[in-house]
């Protein structure tokens, strides 16, 4: 737990934390800091001033971790995930919820913009599910848009695993509406963060988080991205680490696909199907499992409505006018389809889930 306390020191950076841990036993190091001994060079006066009053910090962090079911692992531990151990910019201390063994699977990063299109979100979800069905862990950042949908897919898929790396402390749910997704990922895999509990989602932590995403991915799939943004930072980090980057092609007219289309022009492999990713991982192509639909099949009337939803978000009015059925009937059928999981309603727009 003392490693956790070192990670929680004020003004801590991941480089400085690494140097502190290199000094030897973290318990001794922490005790020396409390006693007022400068443990290493490179702790300048400003930082040292901030560390004056840290007695008891180890207990505070330990208690917070215990409260939220958070465990800690550091590079000194045998259980530190091998997937990260060799990284040039290794996170010295990791806080996690869930099961670290998820990191021993094959791992594919599925990332993309937070302002994703409907088809992008749906693709991320089905890709996440299909990867999970084939035993591959889906690595992403639990952000809005593509990230969370990839994770939702991974949690849906039977036998898969989800690996999420978030920028805030694990007890700080960001974005706030993803509370359920945090829990689902912890239950279906592992939820990781470099930041000690209680850390707010500060802007500078996101690029750092992205480097861990890149380091954990064997193949990185960008579903949708503009030409700039967090996804592109992850892509650069992945290229530094020789991780295969793949991209999902999009319409040349869609601004959300500008970044991915540019990656394709630069020579990244295109992804239109889970098979593309599995082949890039070097998995035997004969034995792919595809997400068999576990949803209850729609009745004939429901199928008509489902087909009428088409491939974009529609209002009930549009369906009613296409089918010529009474508004009440269409409303009922949509409600039933939503319950069975064939369509979903987002802010009054209905979309078919393929």
């Amino acid at each position: 737990m003392s490693a956790a306390a070192l990670a929680a020191l004020p003004l801590q950076t991941h480089q400085r934390l690494r140097r502190l841990l290199a000094c030897g036993d973290p318990v001794v190091t922490f005790r020396r800091i409390v006693a007022g001994e400068r443990p290493i060079g490179g702790v300048d006066d400003r930082v040292w001033h901030a560390w004056r009053d840290v007695a008891g910090l180890d207990d505070v962090v330990a208690q917070r971790c215990a409260e939220h079911g958070i465990s800690v692992v550091s590079t000194a531990d045998d259980s530190y995930p091998t997937a990260l151990a060799g990284d040039p910019d290794v996170p010295a201390v990791l806080f996690f919820r869930g099961d670290l063994s998820a990191l021993r699977r094959r791992r594919v990063g599925v990332i993309g913009t937070r302002t994703a299109s409907l088809s992008g979100r749906n693709f991320a979800r089905s890709l996440g599910r299909d990867l999970a069905m084939n035993g591959v862990a889906v690595v992403s950042g639990l952000a809005r848009g593509i990230d969370v949908h990839a994770h939702r897919g991974a949690c849906d898929g039977e036998g898969g695993a989800a690996v999420a790396v978030v920028a805030s402390g694990l007890d700080v749910v960001y974005p706030p509406e993803h509370g359920l997704d945090f829990d689902a990922v912890a239950a279906h895999g592992v939820l990781l963060s470099e930041a000690p509990p209680g850390t707010p989602p500060e802007t500078h932590r996101f690029p750092l988080r992205n480097r861990i995403l890149a380091a954990l991915s064997e193949v990185l799939v960008v579903v949708e991205s503009r030409t700039r943004g967090g996804s592109m930072i992850t892509v650069r980090e992945a290229m530094k680490r020789d991780v295969t980057v793949m991209a999902v092609p999009g319409s040349p007219h869609a601004p959300v696909s500008d970044g991915t289309n540019a990656l394709l022009k630069d020579g990244c492999g295109p992804v239109t199907d889970v098979v593309d990713v599995l082949v890039a991982l070097g998995l035997n192509s004969g034995a792919f499992r595809r997400g068999a639909d576990t949803r209850e099949p729609p009745t004939a009337a429901e199928r008509e409505v489902f087909v009428a939803c088409g491939t974009r978000a529609v209002t009930v009015d549009e369906i009613v006018m296409v089918l010529g059925l009474p508004a009440f009937d269409v409303g009922v059928l949509l409600g039933r389809l939503e319950l069975k999981g064939w369509v979903q309603q987002v802010n009054g727009w209905w979309e078919a889930l393929t």
């Binding site: 302002t115 601004p255 974009r312 009015d317 009474p326 009440f328 269409v330 009922v332 409600g335 009054g348």
Partner: protein
């Protein structure tokens, strides 16, 4: 020496009876009004003096004291002018006290002695005691609405004197019969297409559910909203009376008749909070009180001042506005059906997918009326701009008359069952009046488990499902189809 004359004063939309006491005594000549008069009331002296002189009376050059006696609050307005003038004439012996014992006087005086119309004649006359009420001839229709044949119209102070002194008959009240003019309401038949939106409006009208419309400009949001009064059940005589009283108190004299058509008010988004909610000094009813028993339509809801939208929450909850003042509070009626309309986001693009706004922009836009206010909406309608070729091909929609018939019978069922429209069904009575079948319960439980429904949303869904069942004539109990359909109309802004 002394006279007591009945009159009334306006508090918000309700009148309050007052007695105007006039005393003429010895001492330094002067004139004072006591009994918490407001500024307009204080100016009465000059109007009354001129009116008396113009009518050929003398102004008694003695010490005159006028007391406005009534319940505590400040007496406002010029409506006591006539009563003061009559009181002076009685106190100086020109008129006998006996002649005015059964009368109340509610009118402002002009300098020439004419009786002028003021705002709120209907509630003023209503409150002014059990005898006949003398009002300005122009306002006789309004007064007639409130007190029927007890209303007496007069155009000048001279006419009043003739009747009181010489016993001449009061002038004939012309246009006493208040005919509500034949109103041509916009018809739902004009709305082409948009079948689901029409259905949602029907459900909203039947259950008195608040509606949130989201759609790009030109999708027909205000067109639909303006047709709501045509499909709502006609007002009961009592409701029509209430609404007419509010209109009178707000000074909308031309429409101060008891029309059975539910009112429709659409304040612009630049309106001030006081003009919408009511208030000011003296307290005047705002748009939401004018929409009492009818429809309040807020177009471009996100553009209204956030403080204004916040101020709507209490009236939405309680059906009335309480305007508190240091000297006491005034209660204004405000039970209305709220229709809010908004663009989906600042860019107002047709499709969620072609929207160019960042989530932050959308969030900020929606947050302006999110939270507690959006919780009041039971139904959400999403609209798209109809394409021109579709519009040409479409048949006219079902006329309002047919829809209104279904709405009226569904409302009658609800009122017969629980005494209030479904939207106002209190949570503890939902189980009794809107029981669920096993299948319906299973659907709701699954939705709750999946996080599609919040606890607050749960009650709304049950009320809307009840209304849908009533509309379809399937009264007992609420089935899974009704619940599924209601869930599809839910108004949640959660952005997943």
């Amino acid at each position: 020496m002394y006279a007591a004359v009945s009159s009334s004063t306006l508090h918000g939309v309700f009148g309050a009876a007052i007695t105007v006491e006039v005393h003429i005594g010895n001492g330094l000549p002067g004139f004072s009004i006591v009994g918490q008069p407001d500024e307009a009331c204080r100016e009465s002296r000059d109007r009354v003096r001129a009116a008396l002189l113009c009518t050929g009376h003398e102004w008694p050059n003695r010490r005159i004291t006028v007391n406005l006696s009534g319940e505590g609050e400040k007496k406002g307005g010029a409506t006591a002018d006539l009563a003061i003038a009559v009181g002076l004439l009685v106190a100086s012996g020109k008129i006998e006290q006996r002649a005015i014992d059964d009368l109340a006087f509610v009118a402002e005086l002009g300098l020439d002695g004419s009786l002028r119309a003021t705002t709120g004649i209907a509630p003023l006359a209503f409150a002014a005691g059990s005898g006949s009420v003398v009002v300005p001839m122009e306002s006789i229709a309004e007064a007639h609405l409130a007190v029927g044949p007890r209303a007496i119209g007069a155009s000048t102070l001279r006419e009043v004197c003739r009747a009181l002194v010489d016993g001449e008959p009061w002038p004939e009240g012309h246009e006493c019969r208040v005919e509500s003019p034949e109103e041509s309401l916009p018809d739902m038949a004009d709305v082409l297409g948009q079948p689901h939106a029409r259905f949602a409006m029907e459900v909203a009208a039947a259950g008195f559910h608040h509606v949130l419309m989201v759609g790009p400009p030109g999708a027909g949001k205000s067109m639909l909203a303006r047709r709501m009064p045509g499909i709502l059940p006609p007002l009961s005589p009592r409701e029509a009376f209430e609404s007419a009283m509010v209109r009178s108190a707000a000074g909308l004299r031309s429409s101060a008749h008891a029309s059975p058509v539910p009112p429709f008010r659409a304040p612009h988004h630049t309106s001030t909070t006081v003009s919408v909610v009511g208030g000011g000094s003296p307290v005047r009813p705002g748009e939401i009180s004018l929409a009492h028993n009818g429809v309040l339509f807020l177009d471009e809801m996100g553009e209204f001042a956030p403080s204004l939208l916040d101020a709507l929450r209490q009236p939405l909850e309680e059906g009335e506005v309480r305007v508190a003042r240091a000297r006491g509070s005034v209660t204004l009626p405000a039970r209305f059906l709220l229709i809010g309309a908004s663009n989906p986001c600042p860019c107002a693009n047709e499709q969620v997918t072609s929207c160019t706004c960042t989530p932050q922009m959308r969030h900020r836009y929606m947050r302006r009326f999110s939270g507690p206010l959006v919780d009041r909406f039971d139904i959400r309608i999403n609209l798209t701009r109809p394409r021109l070729n579709e519009m040409i091909a479409l048949e006219p929609g079902e006329p309002s008359e047919d829809i209104a018939r279904r709405v009226a019978s569904a409302r009658a069922v609800a009122l017969g069952r629980q005494g209030v429209p479904n939207a106002m069904l209190p949570p503890h009575l939902i189980e009794r009046h809107a029981p669920l079948t096993e299948r319906a319960r299973a659907v709701i439980e699954e939705r709750l488990a999946r996080g599609d429904l919040t606890a607050r949303g749960y009650h709304r869904i049950r009320r809307v499902a009840r209304t849908i069942a009533d509309l379809r004539g399937e009264h007992e109990p609420v089935d899974d189809d009704h619940v599924s359909c209601a869930i599809g109309m839910r108004a949640e802004l959660a952005n997943r």
